[in-house]
């Protein structure tokens, strides 16, 4: 545990003066950079993060210089009187790098946070329209959601920055940088990454739906980052909108002053002007950190075949110019900047990005892995310390992904590398399975994240893949008290040598209408959860806080809440540590052969019912073969469920004459194709669908 007292503050060492023209610039290096070992810096970052967590209390109206946290000031103190810009000095305010196009006072960086479907994307589109960034005739609904999947599911997965110019009521032009955020529980990491590039956030609440669990979680994230929050009550035009109640909820649940909320209807274009004015008036302008050189936070990236990695950055200090030598502090690698620019929302090149601004940078970075999100670009010659955005991402859900055609392995590998570029939370490493051959063991933030990665592999990379049953990380204490972390059922040690197994838990918040509280409590207890306490949200709704095993909420928890409450319930969670549980490994055998892809770790109380459900599901999805197929579920060699797929007795088109031959041939060709895509376990052909269905069972 880090406390402010044991934070390690880096020291800087002067090596040489740069040039007579810039006598104030000192070329500094740090032993850790030289050693190229960023790991040594992690305590610093963790310390900063830990300290920020202690500063939970909401910031008062006058913003402090959030990026020049105390840690950095102390680093400044450690410079021993060197001629570095002092925080707050004139040079520090403009980053110490001379003139700029838009002065800092006229830049605002903000995000929009909202519960799914509360209108975030529609509002973003309206802001683009109102500021003239996008002309009405070029408007395509949901401008910022560029992935097909995002449009289809109505969710935002990736963060997109866009720069707008707005002439405010006071007649002055402001540069507004909107950094879009994802809107799902799985992606809170991405949300916080986007938020860390901003000084403020619009909080959108649906006037008809009120505050939802997701809203609570996202506001907590924004508050942790000390952002100015501008509440917007959206959809006021709906007949069942209840604005006063929504204001009351903001105050009661989120401690946001009710009268600070702006009423709007993004769909009807109501209140957009007030929102823009509030952005200018309430959100503080960016302030340089006071470091000695460039500090640019990487908050997103994508891969361009011609330019390599295109990184989205927020300049916290200094400026970023074409031709500049920069260093990525995490990887320690140096690059020459090839291009910088902004988004409007299409990318356009600019001569430089200056302090406070948001945009993109390309630097011939070939490998996605070299740019970790949250990393800091700094001047290679005069490195500054890293910004506190970097955080190791810890995947919570694991699943094996295998190509259906073994020949696709290399293609899958390359595709995953590309996906990872746009999705740093996705991690993978090679593994092999007896049943499925060579594939990858992958880590995800949650189940939606897993689904999205799979679907992108299928659609964008045209891959046929199989995914195994998702797992979490179990901690296994062996008899010799050694603790092993197991995220793959295949590696669960023999129970004879296991003292105890611990599983990860979450603290979940469920908001639902009063009448469903019984259903919710039943669901929580079905999922082996414990209700902590209940709070009243308003006269109609309650919030349940409970502790649940993570593995129980992986598959259908969210869907069940939605269906039990007819869509009115919502859920979010935080990770909540480990607890000892009676976990066992459940194996599935097909004609006596264990199918490792179907193995899973489950709680003993659920093993039998899960085994029966799996076997029954498999019976449904395994097509009849020419011989009978036995499906068994077993715990430690003891069969707990058995199903039989009887042999089929015929496979013939009843009637076939001249006119049908062409059509029948195409049908047969299709069937043949389908069979090729089946996985052969022993002599049993199992279609890909079986794996997917079993995953959902």
């Amino acid at each position: 545990m880090f406390t402010p007292d044991n934070i390690y503050y880096p020291r800087y060492y002067v090596t040489k003066k740069l040039s007579p023209k810039a006598p104030s610039l000192i070329y500094v290096s740090h032993p850790h950079f030289v050693a190229d070992n960023f790991a040594l810096f992690r305590p610093v970052l963790r310390g900063i993060v830990a300290r920020r967590c202690l500063q939970r209390e909401r910031r008062a109206d006058a913003p402090t210089n959030r990026k020049t946290g105390k840690a950095l000031s102390r680093a400044g103190e450690g410079r021993g009187g060197l001629a570095l810009p002092r925080p707050g000095s004139a040079r520090a305010r403009d980053g110490g790098w001379g003139t700029r196009t838009m002065d800092l006072a006229h830049i605002r960086n903000f995000s929009i946070i909202a519960h799914i479907d509360h209108g975030k994307t529609t509002l973003s589109d309206q802001l683009l329209l109102r500021t003239g960034t996008v002309a009405t005739r070029n408007m395509e609904a949901q401008h910022l959601d560029s992935m097909d999947l995002e449009r289809e599911r109505g969710i935002t997965i990736k963060a997109h920055p866009v720069t707008m110019t707005y002439r405010a009521g006071n007649g002055e032009d402001y540069e507004l940088n909107l950094i879009d955020t994802p809107g799902h529980v799985d992606f809170s990491y991405e949300v916080s990454r986007s938020l860390s590039a901003c000084e403020g956030a619009l909080l959108i609440v649906d006037a008809a739906q009120g505050v939802e669990a997701q809203t609570v979680a996202n506001v907590h994230l924004a508050m942790k980052q000390n952002l100015t929050i501008i509440p917007v009550i959206n959809k006021i035009d709906l007949p069942h909108a209840n604005v006063p109640l929504t204001r009351q909820q903001l105050e009661d649940i989120l401690a946001i002053p009710a009268d600070s909320a702006i009423e709007a209807s993004a769909k009807e274009g109501i209140g957009i002007e007030s929102i823009l004015e509030a952005i200018v008036a309430r959100i503080p302008p960016p302030k340089p950190t006071g470091a000695i050189s460039l500090q640019a936070l990487c908050f997103d990236s994508y891969f361009d075949t011609y330019k390599g990695v295109v990184t989205h950055v927020r300049i916290f200090n200094g400026e970023l110019r074409r031709g500049m030598q920069v260093k990525l502090l995490n990887s320690g690698k140096n690059y020459e900047v090839k291009e910088v620019g902004s988004f409007n929302p299409k990318p356009y090149e600019r001569p430089q990005l200056e302090v406070g601004e948001t945009g993109y940078v390309t630097a011939n970075i070939k490998s996605p892995k070299d740019v970790r999100m949250g990393d800091t670009f700094t001047d290679a010659r005069v490195p500054s310390p890293p910004l506190p955005g970097y955080q190791e991402i810890h995947p919570m859900v694991f699943s094996g992904i295998y190509p259906i055609n073994t020949a696709d392995y290399e293609h899958l590998k390359a595709s995953m590398a590309k996906l990872q570029l746009n999705d740093s939370a996705f991690v993978y490493q090679p593994e092999s399975s007896v049943a499925l051959g060579f594939g990858f063991h992958c880590g995800f933030l949650g189940l939606l994240h897993l689904e999205i990665v799979q679907e992108r592999l299928r659609r964008e990379y045209n891959l046929d893949i199989i995914a195994t049953y998702p797992s979490v990380i179990y901690r296994v204490r062996m008899s010799d008290s050694l603790v092993k972390e197991i995220d793959n059922p295949a590696f669960l040690p023999d129970p004879a040598f296991v003292a105890e197994i611990m599983e990860p838990t979450v603290q979940a918040f469920i908001i639902c209408p009063n009448e469903y509280i019984g259903d919710m409590m039943a669901l929580v207890s079905e999922k082996r959860g414990l209700l902590d306490h209940t709070e009243t949200v308003d006269t109609k709704r309650v919030m349940l806080t409970c502790r649940l095993p993570l593995n129980e909420i992986l598959i259908d928890f969210h869907d069940r809440i939605k269906s039990l409450t007819r869509g009115y319930g919502s859920m979010d969670y935080e990770h909540g540590g480990y607890q000892v549980s009676d976990m066992v490994k459940l194996d599935i055998l097909v004609n006596g052969e264990p199918v490792d892809a179907f193995s899973c770790i489950v709680h003993r109380s659920k093993a039998e019912s899960r085994g029966r459900a799996l076997a029954a599901k498999l019976k449904e999805v395994i097509p009849r073969q020419q011989f009978a197929v036995a499906i068994q579920a077993a715990i430690g060699g003891k069969v707990v469920a058995r199903e039989t797929v009887s042999a089929f007795r015929k496979d013939v088109t009843a009637k076939c004459y001249g006119g049908d031959i062409s059509r029948k041939r195409k049908l047969l060709e299709k069937q043949k194709e389908g069979k090729k895509r089946m996985k052969s376990i022993g002599s049993v052909n199992i279609p890909q669908q079986a794996f997917i269905e079993v995953l959902k069972a």
Partner: protein, 409 residues
């Protein structure tokens, strides 16, 4: 892969003087559409039928120079729906074009539309085989299937056809109809066999897309009981064999009356259909009909209006054409020929396709034999009785990847 000698290439032009010996004519009219039927047909309308007859005669004129039919088959639809005068126009045109005199000339009929004078007219022009769409002899099932005829009409029409002089009759029967129990199927089978037709076509209900039956299945109002369907087929095979019918294709049974000894197929087998399964050429005329002429497959538009319009301009009414590469075509020919009990004689296959089964499909044949689905004989490859019930499984193995061209007009 072995490349066949050039002279054996299926594309090698046959002597231009050998005209096509098989003619199919589609009559796309029905009094009412049956619930299981996916063939193209529309509800009858006297003036449209007249236009159709005019267009059909035009199409016959276009292909007649390349046609010397040994078999003719009028299918539908309901060919028997055409009235006497319409039949006369078609038959006259065929006479004028020298298309009469086929060894086997079949006309499909619906038991509700058979009349003695129509039957006599057909018989007098050389029609010598009638296929009657009975489907079932259970009145409630006939109604469920949307058939327009009753069970009594079947018996009456059968007598009428015999009286008109037909000595080669086929009955179409369906089993595994939703709601059909084993006793009901046995009764239908017994009564149909008792009629003493020379030929039986009997097949399991196929749930074709775009049929009311398929919609009902999708809405899960129907149950598909594969085991019952298999039992019904076994009952069919047993009953047919016990009464002198020999199975010669997955769904076809015929008597062998002699005096010649039994050859590849019983002598009352439908030669026209045998030509299909053996990959032979044929002309198919009428809306939606398919032709397969010297390796090129064409399909007419499935619209009587469009068909009539195009033929009025003197054009064939092609909707699409498909030309397979020799190998894909040989694969297809192999696959569909296996539906016949006689299987494929190696020399016949080589003659038709230019490829040797024993070379190109050696492994597939060995594997099927290993599974007990087929027999590899010195002169031929054929599926066993069990293999015939897995004919699609076998067919898939014989298909080769699609290579060739498809186009639409």
């Amino acid at each position: 892969m072995m490349v066949p000698a050039r002279s054996l290439r299926p594309n090698a032009p046959k002597p231009p003087s050998a005209p096509i010996g098989h003619l199919y004519i589609h009559v796309p009219f029905c009094a009412r559409k049956c619930h299981y039927c996916a063939f193209y047909s529309e509800t009858a309308n006297a003036s449209l039928i007249d236009q159709y007859v005019t267009a059909l005669i035009r199409e016959l004129e276009l292909v007649a120079p390349d046609l010397r039919p040994r078999t003719v088959y009028f299918g539908g639809g309901t060919p028997s729906l055409l009235n006497l005068r319409q039949w006369e126009r078609i038959l006259d045109a065929m006479g004028r074009l020298d298309l009469l005199g086929a060894d086997e000339w079949t006309v499909e009929t619906n038991p509700a539309t058979v009349s003695l004078d129509k039957a006599k007219l057909l018989e007098s022009h050389g029609v010598n085989r009638i296929s009657m769409g009975v489907q079932s002899l259970d009145q409630p099932l006939l109604e469920r299937l949307g058939r327009i005829h009753t069970r009594d009409m079947v018996f009456r029409s059968f007598d009428t056809l015999r009286r008109a002089g037909f000595d080669n009759l086929n009955l179409d029967l369906m089993f595994a109809i939703p709601g059909q129990t084993m006793p009901v199927w046995r009764a239908t089978l017994r009564e149909a066999i008792a009629l003493g037709s020379e030929h039986l076509s009997s097949y399991e209900v196929i749930y074709e897309e775009d049929t009311p039956l398929f919609q009902q299945l999708k809405a899960s109002r129907l149950d598909v009981d594969d085991d019952l369907a298999c039992d019904m087929f076994e009952e069919l095979a047993a009953q047919a064999a016990a009464h002198g019918y020999r199975q010669y294709e997955v769904a076809n049974f015929a008597k062998h009356l002699g005096p010649q000894p039994l050859g590849e197929v019983p002598d009352r087998a439908c030669r026209h259909n045998v030509n299909y399964w053996r990959g032979g050429s044929f002309y198919g005329l009428g809306p939606s009909a398919t032709s397969y002429v010297r390796g090129v497959r064409t399909k007419n538009w499935s619209s009587t209006h469009l068909y009539c319009q195009l033929l009025a301009k003197g054009q064939r009414a092609f909707e699409s054409t498909e030309t397979l590469s020799p190998m894909s075509r040989a694969g297809e020919t192999a696959a569909f020929g296996l539906r016949m009990n006689a299987g494929w004689p190696f020399d016949e296959f080589l003659r038709v396709t230019g490829f040797d089964l024993r070379v190109e499909w050696r492994n597939d044949m060995a594997e099927l034999e290993r599974q007990g689905l087929a027999k590899l004989r010195p002169d031929r490859f054929q599926l066993t009785d069990r293999g015939l019930r897995f004919a699609d499984l076998a067919a898939e193995r014989f298909l080769r990847p699609f290579m060739g061209s498809r186009s639409r007009f």
